[in-house]
């Protein structure tokens, strides 16, 4: 018997008992649907995270903060340490976060592999306003190479004499600009309070507008603007006050390897800091999402295994019904291998049918749902298409389903192949 005839005959036999085939196929459709959707979610989220990683540059930049747990064992409350605390806060506000001093920066710079250290100062900005707009609260961070946000318009802040600001997208409309491109090049006013409570205004030019993303970009200032804001906060301060720093960016060599980067991180931990690249920060999202997707996949596989037993059941009935036919074919010289092939092909046909329908439904439903979600629930995360159907994962799902179907089919196929022609022909 030719392979083509085996397959053709398997397809015909599959449709002999339509109700039975339909019920078995439905079970597989459910499993294949679930598996396709979960793998699409995995792909969609992974792609989004990759895009986010792609837009933030400088894999050699580590954001270094004081270690959360300063070497002490246990998870209990941390003991008060006047050295670590930003006593009195900045501008008299009662904030209390671990600050960093020049000694810390020296320690970080001393770590092997760190080429330079950029302190990140606290910039206390009260409000932002544009010509004729209301005032809005805003958080401004000094720009660093560790984070390169995706731009909606304009360019990143440049180091120069002019004070420049990278504006997050939501401020564009609030400040009365028509769109992101309209805001670029415009002047905004930042209000900041000095140490004695007097409010000062600092002007800056919008260099660009940052796209919204997973990392929730804040406003970024260039060095000129940073200096101006620090000057304001120091005005009127008595004593040897220094600007408050809460973190630093440590730069390794641009061609640093993963191993070297890990060595730097380990060394930072040893001296009492923790260093993370942007990839590490986003990687945590990924780990959580991968975990969820894997759990969902496991459920889908369980559903498919249950459906596999449906195939076993269906084909065992079919073998029983067709005992005489099998006996006749064997009497006419059909080999056991071909009989085995005939029944496993039927199982694979059922698997193909179920997986094709399941994957098709998943793509249809997923595309609709994903499109709807992108405009509603995930409207704040542009570029996030929660389900992404790609050829390779969908084909893999179909192959996995057909593989399970094949395995399920081997049991009935073996019982068919083992039948003796005489016994089969005598069977009533």
């Amino acid at each position: 018997m030719r392979a083509g005839d085996v397959i053709g005959s398997a397809i015909r036999n599959t449709f002999r008992s339509k109700l039975r085939t339909t019920l078995t196929v439905i079970a597989i459709v459910i499993g294949a649907f679930t598996l396709t959707v979960t793998s699409a979610i995995g792909a969609g989220v992974s792609r989004y995270i990759d895009d986010q990683l792609g837009m933030v540059g400088a894999p050699n930049a580590l954001v270094v903060t004081a270690a959360a747990d300063d070497g002490s064992a246990g998870d209990g409350p941390r003991e008060y340490d006047p050295e670590r605390s930003l006593a009195g806060g900045v501008n008299g506000s009662p904030i209390d976060i671990a600050g960093m001093t020049q000694a810390d920066f020296d320690a970080i710079a001393g770590v092997a592999g760190v080429e330079r250290v950029q302190p990140i100062s606290m910039l206390a900005v009260d409000y932002i306003e544009a010509a004729g707009s209301d005032r809005f609260e805003i958080a401004v961070d000094p720009a660093s190479e560790a984070m390169r946000f995706d731009l909606a318009a304009g360019s990143h802040v440049a180091d120069g004499a002019e004070r420049e600001l990278l504006l997050p997208l939501p401020y564009v409309e609030a400040l009365g600009f028509a769109d992101a491109a309209d805001a670029v090049g415009e002047q905004v006013v930042l209000g900041a309070t000095d140490a004695v409570g007097t409010q000062h205004e600092v002007t800056a030019v919008v260099s660009g507008v940052a796209q919204e993303s997973l990392l929730e970009p804040g406003a970024e200032s260039n060095q000129a603007l940073t200096d101006a804001l620090v000057d304001v906060s120091l005005t009127g301060r008595t004593g040897a006050a220094a600007p408050a720093y809460y973190a630093a960016v440590a730069y390794a060599a641009p061609d640093v390897s993963d191993e070297q980067l890990q060595a730097i991180k380990d060394e930072l931990v040893r001296v009492g800091f923790q260093g993370q690249t942007v990839g590490d920060q986003i990687g945590m999202f990924r780990a959580v999402i991968d975990g969820i997707v894997n759990v969902l996949n496991a459920f889908a596989i369980i559903a498919l295994i249950a459906a596999g037993f449906g195939i076993v059941n269906t084909l065992l009935m079919s073998v029983k019904e067709r005992t005489r036919e099998i006996g006749l074919m064997k009497a006419m010289g059909m080999g056991s291998g071909r009989v085995f092939g005939l029944f496993t092909s039927e199982a694979v046909v059922i698997g193909l049918l179920g997986s094709a329908i399941g994957a098709g439904l998943a793509i249809l439903a997923g595309t609709l749902v994903s499109g709807a979600l992108a405009d509603t629930l995930f409207a704040d995360l542009p570029g996030l298409q929660i389900m992404r159907f790609e050829l390779v994962p969908v084909a893999t799902v179909m192959l996995v389903v057909m593989g399970i179907a094949f395995l399920a089919g081997t049991l009935p196929a073996r019982s068919a192949a083992r039948q003796h022609p005489i016994d089969a022909l005598r069977y009533e």
């Binding site: 018997m1 030719r2 005839d5 005489r324 006749l328 074919m329 006419m332 010289g333 059909m334």
Partner: protein, 238 residues
């Protein structure tokens, strides 16, 4: 004298063990020559079906030798046995064994599909076989839509389609009324004679047995009477 197509020597076959042991065949010898029709006659339980299964290579004897055109069947590999059954043998069963929801053409083509023939050739040959049984107008019908006589004619077409050298018929008219049975018998004997096919009929129908060239009577697994070759057959074989 030409080589017999089937040559069985002291075939033994038993089923079961110990107390329940049943000796179906206790040393049966017979031969069948090309172009002759041979009836294996006996009551139920005489071992005639077992003998047919062994002759048709559907079962293996416990002891004894079976030669098919001089080849020792016991020494054939399984694939060779399958090829032999597919190409040299045709089967006609009492219960037809037609696949109910397949067409008549598909049923008749089955041996050729198993042989791995191309679509075009197998359709041509199946249609030729159906024509010789005047069933070509029913080729597209479902097997279940045929009358009893038509079903058995379809079965004969299926047995002939691979141009076998031996046809084994197990009670070929057992499921038919006597008038239809006679017609089917006429067709079967006619085609077999025309094509020089050896026919082995297993039956307890004396009338059918009487139409065969030779009869072998079995009782309790032994040959109790075997007709000598008729003069007419000797003339044919000479």
């Amino acid at each position: 004298m030409p080589q017999p197509v089937l040559d069985a020597r002291s075939i033994h076959k038993s089923y079961g063990r110990g107390e329940s042991r049943f000796d179906a065949l206790r040393g049966v010898s017979l031969e069948a020559h090309a172009g002759e029709s041979l009836a294996i006659v006996g009551k139920s339980g005489s071992g005639k079906s077992t003998l047919m299964h062994i002759l048709a290579l559907l079962d293996a004897p416990d002891s004894g030798a079976l030669r098919i055109r001089g080849t020792d069947a016991g020494e054939l590999r399984r694939s060779e046995v399958q090829r032999l059954r597919n190409e040299e043998f045709g089967f006609v069963f009492q219960q037809f064994f037609l696949t109910p929801d397949a067409t008549v053409l598909e049923n008749v083509m089955l041996p050729l599909v198993i042989a791995g023939l191309g679509r075009r050739e197998r359709v041509e040959r199946a249609m030729a076989a159906l024509r010789s049984l005047e069933l070509d107008d029913k080729a597209g019908n479902r097997a279940t839509d045929l009358s009893g006589g038509q079903k058995q004619r379809a079965v004969i077409a299926r047995a002939l389609v691979n141009e076998p050298s031996v046809i084994f018929a197990d009670e070929p008219t057992g499921n038919l009324d006597s008038a239809t049975g006679l017609i089917v018998e006429d067709i079967l004997f006619g085609l077999v004679r025309e094509r020089g096919i050896t026919l082995v009929v297993v039956t307890h129908d004396d009338d059918l047995a009487a139409r065969c060239d030779r009869r072998v009577h079995l009782r309790d697994g032994l040959v109790v009477a075997a007709d000598a070759r008729t003069d007419a057959l000797e003339a044919v074989l000479a």
